[in-house]
């Protein structure tokens, strides 16, 4: 798990810091949110949470040096929520349509929970946002884009991973 978490964290940073040209900036397209979701789905909620948490902390360290604990936990939740599937979906079912739909739905739920946590703690602890209206505006925009990113990319990544690891006998 430690290795997987470290590699996810390392993988997140270039995607976050190195902006993909034409993506319209990181606010509109944040493909990295799908990675902790995938890790949660494949390796379980703890790996998903730690991946999202440490990935976000390190990517903030690399990009501008800031540290925002509530957004780090929020990103951890993005990975933890899809981890529910780890306990109920068999590895052999990963490529089935039902599982891919579940991955998309869990990605949307994770975005609502994770970004909801971050935006509400921004409001509750008055970090940058002083009013509920501003917090809700932040929540709708961030959770909406993360949910769509996760909804589209998580099933694609899960399918690709399932195909790539098919036939591998070692731990998955």
């Amino acid at each position: 798990m430690a290795v997987g978490t470290a590699l996810y964290a390392a993988l997140t940073i270039p995607f976050n810091v190195f902006q993909i040209p034409g993506s319209g900036g990181l606010i509109a397209v944040r493909p990295t949110v799908a990675i902790p979701m995938l890790f949660g789905f494949v390796f379980g909620p703890i790996t998903g949470f730690v991946s999202g948490l440490i990935g976000n902390i390190l990517s903030d360290f690399f990009s501008f040096g800031g540290f925002y604990w509530n957004w780090d936990i929020g990103n951890g939740l993005l990975g933890a929520v899809p981890g529910i599937a780890y306990f109920i979906v068999k590895r052999t079912d990963w490529t089935k349509a039902k599982t891919l739909v579940m991955a998309g739905v869990l990605a949307v739920i994770a975005s609502v929970v994770g970004i909801g946590f971050a935006a509400m703690t921004d409001y509750i602890f008055q970090i940058g946002l002083s009013t509920l209206d501003a917090a809700l505006a932040e929540f709708y925009s961030a959770a909406g884009t993360d949910a769509i990113n996760g909804l589209i990319l998580t099933p694609i990544l899960l399918y690709a991973y399932a195909r790539a690891t098919a036939g591998r006998a070692r731990r998955v």
Binding site: G4, A10, I127, S130, I152
Partner: protein, 270 residues
């Protein structure tokens, strides 16, 4: 090359043990959450600026970062103050100006300024940690803080692999472009932009995930995880200045608790 913005130097902040700097960040987080009165919030805000100046971080190197941070923050804070309906949720708001449905209130401005100060203080103090701490010392410092060494190793390994994946992302992008991949989506909007990242994110993510096995194997062959503890090549230890700083932090915490009990709520100028 992507790298952590660490600027070597010989200031007090540079010489402090990373653990003290972690505690400093935690102290600021606690104080920022505890203080409601904007006059009290001025104290950590000014303190963070003094700390940052004392770190003698080269301005040229961080100017871009600050622009990246300040513009959206000031914009969001302004929206807080001027374009929300806060005035309606306060029993007797002091309306300074009205425009259509928007009300500019004294309360709105004060709360927006307080939120802005909290955000900036946290940004500044965490930059003090990042800009003055050698990235190679995070993991040994975490180990000394009794974080399980597998946890500390996650941070160490992640930092080690950042340049690898950055390079891989660039290589993949160039390879896909050679096959006709267009990095700029013409039309199609938001969904097309997301789908356009698939040819990049899938190969890089898959390569990374499959390499996990190789890395894990290599580590197991070197008996990683066999012992309950491990030593680190680099280590950190408390010096006299660290004990003194810890004492100052404890005193400041006591002062902060006292001030919090005296100024218990928001302050709005008469």
């Amino acid at each position: 090359m992507i790298r952590i913005k660490y600027f070597p130097g010989n200031t007090l902040l540079h010489r402090l043990d990373p653990r003290i700097k972690f505690l400093l960040v935690v102290f600021f987080i606690v104080v920022e959450v505890a203080f409601l009165d904007i006059r009290l919030l001025l104290l950590p805000f000014i303190a963070s600026i003094i700390l940052y100046i004392s770190a003698k971080v080269p301005w040229k190197e961080v100017k871009g970062t600050w622009k990246f941070l300040l513009i959206p923050i000031v914009l969001i804070s302004s929206i807080n103050a001027f374009f929300t309906f806060l005035g309606m949720s306060v029993p007797h708001p002091h309306i300074l100006a009205e425009f259509w449905v928007f009300k500019v209130t004294t309360e709105g401005i004060v709360l927006a300024l307080a939120a802005l100060m909290r955000f900036l203080s946290l940004a500044i103090v965490s930059m003090c940690l990042v800009n003055t701490t050698d990235p190679g010392l995070y993991a040994p410092a975490m180990a000394k803080l009794k974080v399980p060494y597998k946890g500390a190793f996650v941070v160490d390994l992640a930092m080690r692999y950042v340049p690898v994946y950055t390079e891989e992302l660039e290589t993949t992008m160039n390879a896909q472009m050679a096959r006709g991949y267009q990095v700029k989506v013409k039309g199609g909007g938001f969904f097309a932009s997301i789908l356009n990242t698939v040819p990049l994110i899938v190969p890089v993510a898959m390569n990374a995930m499959l390499s996990i096995y190789d890395v894990a194997d290599a580590m197991e062959l070197r008996a990683f995880g066999a012992e309950k503890t491990r030593t680190w090549y680099r280590t950190v230890s408390f010096k006299r200045r660290d004990y003194a700083s810890l004492a100052v932090l404890v005193c400041l915490l006591l002062v902060a608790i006292y001030l919090r009990t005296r100024f218990t709520t928001y302050w709005i100028p008469a």
